[in-house]
């Protein structure tokens, strides 16, 4: 049985400014190390956090220019799951309408971007996106 009590919760608020995604990735590292996640899995969390932050920085157009994050360690007794939420108060988007990027077409295309969400989904165990004209929240989880 997987317990789902929140054992630890840390919140971080970042300005949407260059390099601030690195601060988020360090907080994620601290929480993942606390759970004794393996170094390779910690690295995957770090990369996913960076992508989620730069998406908010680049695409949200949030008027307050801030990203609101929570890092939660969940489990029944022992830490089992790291859940990270990345929220902005920007314009939102339709996650369902996103086309899966393909390297063959990107190689020929003018715009080679569009990989962030694909990478997040590939590196985390589960990803949920809630987006509206009030903003976007990406909640991503990884087991220990």
């Amino acid at each position: 049985m997987t317990g789902n009590a929140v054992l630890r919760e840390v919140t971080l608020t970042l300005p949407m400014l260059p390099d601030m995604e690195v601060a988020a990735s360090k907080t994620a590292t601290a929480m993942a190390e606390y759970m004794q996640m393996t170094p390779d899995r910690i690295d995957e969390v770090r990369m996913a956090v960076i992508e989620a932050c730069i998406n908010a920085f680049e695409h949200s157009h949030a008027p307050d220019r801030k990203v609101y994050m929570t890092f939660e360690v969940l489990g029944g007794g022992e830490p089992e799951l790291l859940r990270i939420s990345v929220r902005d108060t920007g314009v939102g988007f339709e996650p369902g309408e996103r086309e899966k990027p393909r390297i063959a077409s990107k190689l020929k295309a003018e715009n080679k971007r569009g990989w962030g969400l694909e990478i997040i989904q590939g590196l985390m165990d589960s990803v949920e996106i809630d987006s509206s004209t009030d903003g976007t929240t990406v909640v991503m989880s990884k087991r220990r």
Binding site: D19, V22, R46, E51, L107, K108, W115, L123
Partner: protein
Amino acid sequence: MTESLRVTVDRQEGFAIVYTEGYINNQGGEEIAKVAYQLIDEGRKILLLNLHGTKIVNSIGISILIEIIEKMIEIDGKLGFCNLTATIAKTFEIMGLSQYAQIYPGEAEALAGLRSPA
């Protein structure tokens, strides 16, 4: 601020190795591209990117690497990567980059693979 990517080049007969140290973000990717295009202009068709000193990348940086791959395909050259962290290798795999650029564990294997006529 934040220390910017350091890029160093080892020019060899017919090929070159580009070493990176630091974060491959927007600017980091641009730095690598500048160096790569210069090497291509010098007539080199075999490039190896040794990312030994790079622990983090972001997708903006990687999309600039895709531009370099496109260029290499155009000139019928070869681009290889080596010394990737497990996460960077996995990310390249997720993106399918490994179909268009060779990924090697270390430099020796990379040079053997890239310089073979195949």
